[in-house]
Symmetry: D2
Subunit: 435 residues, 4 copies
């Protein structure tokens, strides 16, 4: 039997808290799960620094990747025998679902910003490079790795396949909303996925939703909205993210200044020089990063050391609402007061805006964006969701930006009361009223 | 106001998937949670290697410790105003609950066995040594750290206080059963904790259960039984545990043989020499251990390297039921066949028995064991649970041992078919029939 | 001890699937629950005819009334010791919560419409009349029954008390959304009530919500929206409701036409004549109504008999979207075609609009309506919810009416194919295309 | 297409709180659900009088019957293509599952005892008699009704089919445990049905369980045990049951004594005379019974009237543990004291033993009992469950009888204190100590 058609003797199941069981029957899927690059996802948290806000959010990307695979498996089970559905695409869809996040590194968001990396590019490299995953996919067919990469890259010719993995209501989002809600313990994130799966229909170039299922989709969109504001953009997690970014910045700066590290940052060298090989990338997971942070806590450089202690022991920055219309003058004053007080403002006075984050709870039809959700009306017409639903319309495409200013409250408080900067800093930060 | 009575301005809450919210009002508790030694528990998994079997089981001991605190908080809330309950003990109970697992290290079970450590001893050392936790406790009262240590150590004079933290139905067990069930996703582990809390009554020297709540307690005992066999003793997790132990053994052996590591095992040195300081102990968390395992995968020693690759990429040993009555002769033969085939049996042929593990789903009255569960009958008499409950009686004190033999199936399969040992090894392992 | 302060020896608990336990400690509450008029609520379904659509929705108003009581109990527990909260009002709030639905009759909505009754009036009559409930309340204080009635009637002087029982986010709504979701099994209806209870604050004349809880409130509003469209306005339940109303109409008409019933409709006489005494009202519960429907199925009058068979055996009317702009001409034609075909259009061609139903998922500030939701901002200002929340704004006050036309498809299909009316009826009803 | 193979155009789903959705594709099933005799099950509560203890337990046998059907549907879906499974039996299994409880009457247990009826006999009569259900089944095949009746009657030749519907681990039990737990809200009743369904295997003459699923089955058995003692045998529900039985007894006695009822008990006549026709039986549902009880509350006979008031308004009997070894003398004395005090002991002093109830949480191999559970061992051997499982063994076949004495505490308390019987009655009932 061809490798692509090989089935396990006995179906394997993974106990999954969200979908109850993840079922694997295909030999290819089983082999991919066992590949080193896929197992590596166990060492990368799904929600980055959110576990410092929601202590339950310690789950990994391995967890989520299995979930996305399982949802696609169920969708395709429902598609069997339907018009427009080409069952030859089944294995391709399953592989793309399983592997779509393969290129994520530790604390992806910060790493990508600081080191100018793109996890999607690394997903492609892992799939196409000299890896266990690639060898498995090649056994299916020489051209198969490229197909999988194309689906994940949204350049594959069959748009229906892409829309399963990447659209406004794809398996990725359906899994992470439910999973992140489950592990954080928040009451948002519930929607009737079973119903959504039942009303999904394959068309020529996309998956659509029977209009009778509109309310279930509204519920899903609302879940997303709530999860963004309640979980993903939580200011405490962002505070940890700010510190994390500043650690990476500082380490890079020190390296570029020829600072001598007591522990040579072997794993980071190519990140600092901007020349990261696939092998380097794969070696860096969150246990490695946390090891370095713990080592760097003992470095001579006071900034690097302080920031690492903060991250490791969760001594985070405090935050206040930041008025983006603050007079340039006042901002300059604050900045120089921090300098004078010995708190390098580059590292200790940080504005962070949530709109930098992937704010996409629903944006129909923007250039280059994920496919919008189309409803299939009883008369077989298609209508874009936000045209039919008041609720979705109300939150579509609105850019809600939230600016916060992060700083080390403990340092400010520790300034001697007779130091003239202290009072002024407190005034400018609006801390005086609070007392 | 005395530090011990200080309350936060506004109650703090942690969103908890198991108890919905963990509530903190006491300044002392809040400070303890923020202490570096407590935050360290975030980097130690509650269930050790179980995440390699149940992918959801990635939760930390931080998670669990908060949960135990919350349960004790609720119990004490119910105790308020009851006879026998001395509210002066409240803060002591809460601190002991929060800190009872503070001394756990990475993958505790294996580390304790290989390096002959005792996590309870380290809990004491952290509480009594020069640590953030100790300083906070001292602020309550000079003698307070010792009291907390005594409660955890079960030597405190007030046995009622001890029984909240450590008995057959303490807050520790009630939290971990529910929490481990939640994160693994298994359907066991549910019992009506709210009812149990309602029927708990303080007596002079122990917490007892009103007899009307017996069935809820039976359910709890059954949960425990099922969790042991379905989760805690799962043979796949034990396979990972076997490999982990063998890595530690090998590293120690190499060190003692003056092997030159390419990466000097700084963090491990005092573990190898058996002279672990508190500081050394606290520095070793699971991210550090995983860092070393990844480094050691590149070591020249083939055994250390192989075992580390196995652990990191989850290439585990397979297992078969091991017949402990196997003829010594056959066992010797198997052992020497492994040697001949180049698989050092010391590392590649391992018998593991579940009875080595803390098998205690219910043992009333054994020497030195946790207090049994007493029911408070309507006539105010006390009866030990297993005398009243058929079900509990049926599983009490039975030692059910399960022996398994672990070995690298991939190595056996990779032996050349014409190698004479292969067939015989397969016969002795009972693999031939399976083909 | 005064009756109003009497406590039960031991707290009583009711196992409740939604709130886990309902706790009763006050003697007055216990006595009220045992009163005949309260027990009668067991024989009246919470969701009227919805059980014919959602088979799980068989729960009674007894169920819900206990739930509302429990929520208010928990709110007041949180209010203890807060400014603005007068604990003297506690028992009044609990009684009003428990009794707020006491005047509901069987299938209230239809009965009220057909017989021009008002359940709120009967709630007052039961509380103030010669009933067990009244006698219990009188024991608290002669004027107490009137106070309870005033709170339910929203005329009580203390507006804070009223807002607990009756506002846009009162205990009534919070219970029914969760309860109806639980029993129907739909995935809507979940919101974080525990959080909402935590952020409720008593002010002088209303309960407000701390602004940090806005998202939890949004979730609650969305639940309500979804429950209305998915459950409460479900067209199949409305079909049953249409038939029910028509049965009552028919029986009343027959009575007025001096028709001789084989079973004298003793229980209904005063309803037919519009002179319903409190005693008559209390005697009519859903088992009585179902008894009559079953008896009337054997009546000589074909319409009454047919409708009763339909209701009893769930042979409901089918429905189509009704275009309210249908040409009067066409409507007249359809009407007379039904007449010709022997299907009295008065009973067999029914337009039903959901806007007739209590459509109130959020209407701030309308005359005579429930109090809107106010957020308490950090600066202590109050802001009306829909001014702060895009989502709530998007669905506020919109009147979304949904018109459906109900008719007996089986009768239409049973018309002989050569009957000229048949084809034309099918065309006008838009049935022909469907074939 | 043959009627038996007809499929609905679009699958119909029922929203079900326990199984999420009940799926119907077969025309035959759809028609059976719509049959009057099946709809009648909506008017019969699944748990009889338990709703007077657990207010959530208001669900009907309609509810449960759909659930059993759904479970069998899922089992057969898993069986597809397996050896031993004859797919020709599929429709038969589904029909038998759906209809297995069709003959239940109102408050079956009491009715059966008082009037010496057997609901299983009526199930057969409905299936084989002149009913809508029978006509539907006949359309499948003339002999089909008999086959369905045989399966339910356990006389069908294919024992595998029977074991799906009726064994120690059949779809009936799996549904009611979960459903009754859901509606009462108790925390028992959970087990991993999905896993059990996955390990069920068809053999020649029974369904067996792969031994790897033993723990899931243990959990199911334990659920059953807990549900019996916590829910099904709850003494308060039994108190209501006692009153119900006594009402029926009294009405029958009065009828036999030629008492003149103000409301002629038309529906009951044939029950009194012991000659119940199928038509009579089908007309009697719980709304009819409750109607009579409400009417009889106004009857002249003080006993009938009192008991009916008690049942309607939930003024139940109190209970004490009854010592079955009570000296005959004392019992005679109590009996005659009740008589003297004007409380007819026939109706007001009732011993009820739980062992009268269907106590079967696990009895392997008893004559005429349901099939025991067999485990399929890896070597293909079969082993009876209680031989493999300590827990199951511990509760198997044990007859645990619980005797209670029910009486009207309010009457006893209302006896004048100077009446000499009072003190003695209180002593004999053990009430004096309690004061």
């Amino acid at each position: 039997m061809a490798y692509k058609d090989e089935q396990l003797n006995e179906e394997k199941v993974f106990k999954d808290p969200v979908h109850r069981y993840v079922h694997v029957k295909d030999r290819v899927i089983w082999d991919l799960i066992s590949a080193a690059e896929f197992q590596r996802l166990r060492r990368i948290k799904q929600l980055g620094t959110s576990y410092l806000t929601f202590h339950g959010a310690e789950h990994s990307r391995f967890n989520h990747s299995l979930g996305v695979y399982e949802i696609v498996r169920r969708i395709l089970f429902n598609f069997e025998g339907r018009e427009h559905w080409n069952k030859e695409q089944r294995l391709l869809c399953l592989c793309a679902a399983l592997l779509h996040d393969l290129g994520h590194g530790p604390f992806s968001h910060s790493f990508e910003k600081v080191f100018k990396l793109d996890h999607e590019e690394f997903t492609r490299k892992i799939i196409l490079g000299n890896t266990e995953v690639n060898h498995i996919l090649q056994r299916v067919d020489k051209g198969f790795p490229q197909k999988v990469a194309d689906v994940i890259n949204k350049t594959y010719e069959d748009k229906l396949v892409i829309s399963l993995i990447s659209s406004q209501i794809d398996a990725d989002r359906m899994d992470y909303l439910q999973r992140d809600a489950y592990f954080t313990g928040v009451s948002y994130g519930h929607f009737d996925m079973e119903r959504i799966l039942r009303v999904m229909r394959p068309l020529e170039d996309q998956v659509v939703i029977k209009s009778s299922g509109m309310h279930a989709v509204e519920d899903y969109i609302m879940s997303r909205y709530q999860m963004y504001w309640q979980v993903y953009f939580h200011p405490v997690s962002r505070s940890a993210e700010v510190i994390l970014s500043k650690i990476l910045h500082r380490a890079k700066d020190l390296y570029q200044q020829d600072y001598t590290f007591s522990l040579k940052p072997t794993h980071f060298l190519s990140f600092f020089t901007g020349d990261v090989s696939l092998e380097d990338y794969l070696r860096l997971d969150e246990s490695i990063v946390l090891y370095y942070f713990q080592m760097w806590a003992d470095e001579a450089d006071p900034i690097l050391s302080d920031l690492c202690v903060r991250f490791t022991n969760r001594k985070l920055f405090k935050y206040i609402e930041f008025n983006p219309n603050l007079q340039m003058e006042e901002w300059m004053e604050l900045y120089s007061l921090f300098e004078k007080a010995g708190m390098d403002p580059e590292y200790y006075l940080v504005v962070d805006s949530s709109s930098d984050l992937p704010y996409d709870f629903y944006r129909p039809g923007e250039e280059g964006e994920r496919l919008p959700i189309h409803l299939l009306m009883p008369n077989q017409e298609l209508k874009e969701l936000s045209r039919q639903s008041d609720i979705v319309e109300s939150i579509s495409g609105k850019k809600r930006t939230d600016h916060k200013l992060y700083f080390p409250m403990d340092f400010v408080e520790a300034l001697p009361d007779d130091e003239p900067e202290k009072a002024r800093i407190e005034t400018l930060l609006g801390l005086s009223q609070e007392k």
